[in-house]
């Protein structure tokens, strides 16, 4: 994936400082490298986002995870320029969004970017169909075409038959389905999801996550997904960025985040996360040579065999049937061994075996 990757979204050094003197504060940051506290005291400005850079590849789901107030909603609004950065720029398919004129920006928003909001933000005076077709309506698409596209989008989120209803006649979960349909209607390249499922109760949230993941497997939209729920980020994201106080602390795959947290803050976050479906055999196994050196040659004929990309969960299934360690083989050739001890430590999330 890394070699063939094509960046759809590229954010370069985004700073957002809120306040009347944000320009001066920005200059001071550049010149003197002020801290957040200094900026607040000297300029009465608040730093929303601090030097955020990342890229999102085509078809990738990029999760930004952080607690409320960490600046994640501010950051995502830079991508479609609902918020102007104090410094830095956003490129979408190589085009600088911050250099666009108003008309080009509107075209980009209507045709290339779909957005889903935590508050749903449906228009109460419009039917489901008119809400879904809004982005086409503002581009002047004909009535007949709009009806066709809206019907398709409404079908995608399983709301067929509800198109003439008004938002306040729908439950919260259904309203957010409308929000999702509205974002998908124009068949955009990019989906921006700003905590789309946070306001829903847990069961409905699960359901909608399922709907979203099915749709995204089918449609391969480049997605930026904001959440404050690490479980959700791990379930949905191809890569995760952890945000804290306006800073992107760590960017990596779910496995990297969980097994190699960049600092104590991230470590504390991932501490409660189950490793069973995240960590692979490749990460906890002892290489063949090292194992043989430590334990001497063994008869491995009766040992269960796993693959390096097997998750801990599958290794547990293999391990319960036998007292032997598990042999890890790639393309038929044994490359390493997972002992019971390593497996248990792996589930706990400690790296004792490798450290020893």
């Amino acid at each position: 994936m890394a070699e063939t990757r094509e960046d759809v979204i590229r954010c370069e050094g985004i700073w957002k400082i809120f306040g009347d003197k944000s320009r001066h504060a920005m200059e001071a940051v550049r010149a003197r490298g002020l801290s957040k506290k200094d900026i607040r005291e000297q300029f009465d400005c608040v730093v929303g986002v601090q030097d955020a850079s990342f890229t999102v590849g085509r078809g990738e789901i990029f999760c930004i995870m952080g607690l409320s107030g960490s600046g994640k909603s501010t950051l995502i609004r830079h991508i479609n320029r609902l918020i102007e950065p104090t410094s830095g720029a956003v490129y979408i398919e190589g085009e600088n969004v911050n250099a666009m004129n108003a008309e080009a920006l509107r075209k980009l928003r209507a045709e290339k970017i779909g957005m889903v909001f935590q508050s749903m933000a449906l228009m109460p005076h419009r039917t489901v169909r008119d809400n879904v077709a809004f982005s086409l309506e503002v581009r002047g698409v004909s009535d007949a075409e709009r009806a066709k596209v809206a019907a398709k989008a409404i079908e995608m989120v399983d709301l067929t038959g509800w198109d003439a209803k008004y938002p306040d006649e729908l439950s919260g979960g259904m309203q957010q389905r409308v929000g999702l349909a509205r974002a998908l209607a124009a068949d955009p390249t990019i989906l921006l999801m700003d905590e789309p499922f946070s306001a829903l109760d847990p069961l409905i949230r699960r359901q909608l996550q399922g709907t979203f993941m099915e749709l995204s497997a089918e449609l391969h939209k480049t997605t930026v997904f904001i959440t404050h729920d690490l479980d959700e980020a791990i379930r949905i994201g191809d890569r995760i960025a952890i945000m804290k106080d306006g800073v992107l602390v760590q960017i990596g795959t779910p496995e990297e985040i969980v097994t190699e947290p960049a600092d104590d803050y991230v470590a504390e976050f991932v501490a409660g996360i189950s490793k069973l479906d995240l960590v692979t055999a490749a990460r906890i196994m002892q290489p063949m040579a090292a194992y043989v050196q430590a334990n001497g040659p063994q008869d491995m004929g009766t040992w269960p065999v796993g693959k390096p990309e097997d998750k801990l969960n599958e290794l547990v299934d293999l391990a319960v049937g036998t007292d032997h360690p598990i042999l890890i083989a790639a393309e038929g050739a044994p490359i390493g061994v997972v002992t019971k001890r390593a497996l248990l430590r792996g589930i706990q999330g400690r790296d004792e075996e490798r450290a020893a």
Partner: protein, 312 residues
Amino acid sequence: MADTSFDWLNPFASIDLGIASWADGIKQWAISHREMIQPIKRFFESVIVGIEGALHAVPPLVMLVIVALIAWQAAGRRAAIVVGCCLLVLGLLAPEAWGLAMTTLAIVTASVILCVLIGLPLGVLAGKSDRFEAFIRPVLDTMQTIPAFVYLVPVVMMIGIGNVSGVIVTIIFALPPLVRLTSLGIRGVNPSVVEAARAFGASPAQILRKVELPLATPTILAGLNQTIMLSLSMVVIASMISVKGLGNEVLRAMGRLDAGKAIVGGLGIVMLAIVLDRITQGLGRSGRERGHRHWWETGPAGVLTAMFKKTN
């Protein structure tokens, strides 16, 4: 006055900035530039005469039925009954009461139309711009609180007595609530919905037309209702500058201490007020309150549509 010795404890008695005579100068200027105002006056006059002519041309009973049907459409069956009864009472008050009421209604209608034309754009602007809101708020306060007699004289000097002056005086008094409530309505629109509209590529004009104005409509209609009520409350004062209608009855009755005539005029105004209030309040009901039905699915239009569907 200023030649007596200056008293520090009462400085105001010995200072004369000449504001009254300065303001009087404006009046003189207005009188000498009357010609400029004539085309505007003629336009106003023709609008009022047109409306009045139309209202008088319809036979009273037909008018009663039309207004009741409008009330049914706008506010439901119960409001239609109230409106019908009020109009009946109005007609039975005195033989000439209906004609006077139509004259008053014409003045009120003309004033309200002009209030909407002026007030709606001002209100939208005030809703969008804090600076404009800060500027217009004291102006509106002045318009609402300054006694009508103060601007009655200059307006008459400039335009002369009659209906046009009456309408202008009424506009000055009745415009503020519409501007205020339009601004309030625009400001009260859920910002996340506006943000969503922006995120899907709507231009500022589209946001105003497709999101802000529709969502602010109930508040704007409450403002319109207030504007209509204030217009009606001006008819007596406007009759001092020779505006005909129910207000004039009250004024004349006051001069002759004729309590009976005063009651006819006064009750007539009240009946008219109830009629207009019920109709405009009904307009402000939200979609949810109407059970999300389109306007053509309710009221007399709904009956017609249903009949038309059956015959098909």
